[in-house]
């Protein structure tokens, strides 16, 4: 590897772009085979897994963008450009949502989309004012319009300030972002209720939207760490990473890991205690067959392992360990979403469903490949104008230089 390659992150982003492209092609071929073979129901089911995972990550990026401009923290400054790059995938996710809408309209994805299914149950009858095609489409479009417009406005303002250094722009964002963040939480809850929770129209959990928000925010912080700390030998990230920054971002990741566990356990505990027939199938379906072991593994992989790794100071301050913990969290989160979504469609891990599970990964790769391509393309553009750390806010670079000088003096 040449010296140029070691100092610029662009070659790595280009490799990510290529990997994204290949994954996209492989995924599309897999999905195409499923469509040609005529099993459209399986296609939509698998597509949902891919859509929900990447959508939740994109929404995590939005959450971090609103959050950063509201609180203007230094820790979030280090991964702001990563989150901004993720929000650029919103139009892509809108296209993917259209596939979900087709699944809904063709009555292959949501039980409630077929009036005949609703007629037989009084419980479902009383939900038709919310669970109907019009609400699904209108509310989804409102959500996408809001997310695309608000993140575009914040990203543009942040980019413009890099050029003009006009301090009023950041004050403007600080008054725009908090109300946008509040509306975002409400819309996210509506969207997750419609897109995911209604896959089982009998089932309800008031904390489900929060679960997805926490999951997404934690995932984008892990992604940010994987990129920034993973590329710690390239400019400008090598002028950014201090022990203090590692401790700060690591503590946020630790806090969200605990929050994830808290929300996950609370939901289970409340449903388990109440033991109501319309609520418990959610868990029964996820405790059937080998899925219960996968769930048990997730308790360790999603909570105990990262918790114990992040509770001490040492790992957060050691970049080569820290970014591996972040990669671990990303992988565990993918498995977690698999455990969360696929049992809506197929219970147990039966051998006759093996092809169907393969299709899940084809959908995951198709959407994910496109997502990574968009994400990496945006990072390349940002890197080309040398703005992978916001240029208008120099607090991080200043504190790095202070620490470096402090050591030099000492």
């Amino acid at each position: 590897m040449s010296v140029m390659n070691q100092t610029s992150p662009i070659p790595t982003f280009k490799r990510a772009q290529n990997v994204g492209g290949i994954l996209f092609l492989l995924g599309v071929i897999g999905l195409g085979i499923a469509l040609i073979s005529g099993d459209t129901k399986a296609f939509f089911a698998s597509f949902t897994f891919g859509f929900v995972f990447w959508m939740t990550l994109t929404l995590g990026c939005c959450t971090l963008v609103y959050l950063h401009h509201s609180i203007r923290a230094t820790w979030s400054l280090s991964i702001l450009r990563i989150a901004e790059a993720g929000t650029k995938a919103l139009p892509l996710m809108l296209v993917c949502w259209l596939v979900m809408a087709v699944g809904m309209l063709s009555r292959q994805l949501y039980m409630w989309s077929n009036p005949a299914n609703m007629a037989g149950s009084e419980v479902l009858q009383r939900k038709t004012w919310f669970l109907n095609p019009t609400t699904y489409i209108v509310l989804s479009l409102i959500c996408f319009a809001f997310w695309i417009l608000t993140t575009w406005r914040l990203n543009e303002s942040s980019r413009l300030q890099d050029e003009t250094r006009d301090q009023r722009l950041s004050e403007n964002r600080a008054s725009f972002a908090p109300p946008a963040g509040v509306i975002h939480v409400v819309l996210l809850t509506f969207a997750i209720t419609l897109w995911v929770m209604s896959l089982d129209p009998y089932w309800v959990s008031t904390i489900y939207g929060v679960w997805f928000m926490i999951y997404g925010l934690r995932l984008v912080i892990a992604l940010g760490i994987a990129v920034v700390w993973g590329l710690r030998n390239t400019r400008p990230f090598n002028e950014l990473i201090t022990k203090k920054l590692g401790a700060d971002v690591g503590n946020m990741l630790l806090g969200l890991t605990m929050f994830w566990a808290y929300v996950t356990v609370s939901q289970f505990l409340i449903i388990w205690s109440a033991n109501l027939p319309e609520e418990i199938p959610f868990y029964i379906n996820r405790f059937t067959g080998p899925m219960v072991y996968l769930g048990g593994f997730l308790v360790i992989a999603q909570f105990f392992a990262p918790f114990l790794c992040l509770i001490g100071m040492r790992n957060k301050r050691a970049p080569h360990i820290f970014w591996r913990i972040a990669v671990w969290i990303i992988i565990a989160s993918i498995i977690d979403m698999f455990w969360q979504i696929t049992p809506f469609f197929k219970v147990g891990f039966l051998s006759e469903n093996l092809l169907w599970y393969a299709l899940d990964f084809a959908a995951f790769a198709a959407i994910g490949g496109a997502w990574v391509w968009v994400f990496a393309s945006d990072l390349i553009k940002t890197a080309q104008r040398n703005a992978l750390i916001p240029l208008h806010d120099t607090r991080l670079v200043d504190s790095f230089r202070e620490v470096a000088e402090g050591h030099a003096h000492a």
Binding site: K243, A247, A410
Partner: protein
């Protein structure tokens, strides 16, 4: 009174203290004191400063471990206590659930973990710090009341092998951002 006292008077010096008005100056001062070879150094600040533990070469992990073990103990006490009361001592059929309904044990197990971890952290730091301590020489430092408000202090103790009244004072006076240097009595 020791007979010792009659022959040579007890040295009244506790150490030399430098006063700063910003945390970064204190941090770099702590780094430089260690670089200069001082080992009995202590810093006083109104709030925790990132990296100070490292600057002072403080790597005493007894308190975190005591907290962790306290938490584990609390976890065991909570869980086993629930097991004993629900399964052994007073078995009672609640909604047809098994007596050993461990998911229901989680909240109290969790609370006990937190409680015991916090209490062991609190009492162990009390013991390690030698509290209660009604008298400490550092309070003889001029202006030291502001160590809990907006001032930052660096102490080099008399017990330091490299301590020399005038040289230590001139070393501290040469540090960046220093406001005042004073020799403090026991």
């Amino acid at each position: 009174m020791s007979s010792h006292h009659n022959h040579e008077p007890v040295d009244p010096t506790f150490g030399t203290v430098a006063e700063f008005d910003d945390p970064d100056a204190l941090l770099s001062a702590a780094h430089r004191a260690h670089e200069a070879g001082f080992r009995h150094v202590e810093a006083y600040s109104p709030f925790p400063i990132h990296g100070m533990d490292e600057a002072l070469k403080f790597d005493d992990a007894r308190l975190p471990w005591a907290t962790f073990l306290g938490g584990l103990g609390g976890c065991a006490i909570g869980f086993l206590g629930l097991y004993y009361t629900n399964v052994v001592d007073y078995p009672w059929n609640v909604g047809g659930r098994p007596l050993f309904s461990w998911p229901q044990f989680l909240p109290i197990t969790y609370e006990c973990t937190i409680l015991f971890a916090a209490l062991s952290a609190f009492f162990f730091q009390f013991a390690l710090n030698g509290l209660p301590k009604p008298y400490h020489s550092i309070f003889n430092t001029p202006n030291f009341a502001r160590a809990t408000q907006d001032r930052f202090f660096l102490l080099i103790e008399k017990t330091d092998p490299q301590y020399d009244s005038s040289e230590t004072a001139s070393f501290l006076s040469g540090l960046r951002g220093v406001i005042n240097v004073s020799e403090v009595e026991k």
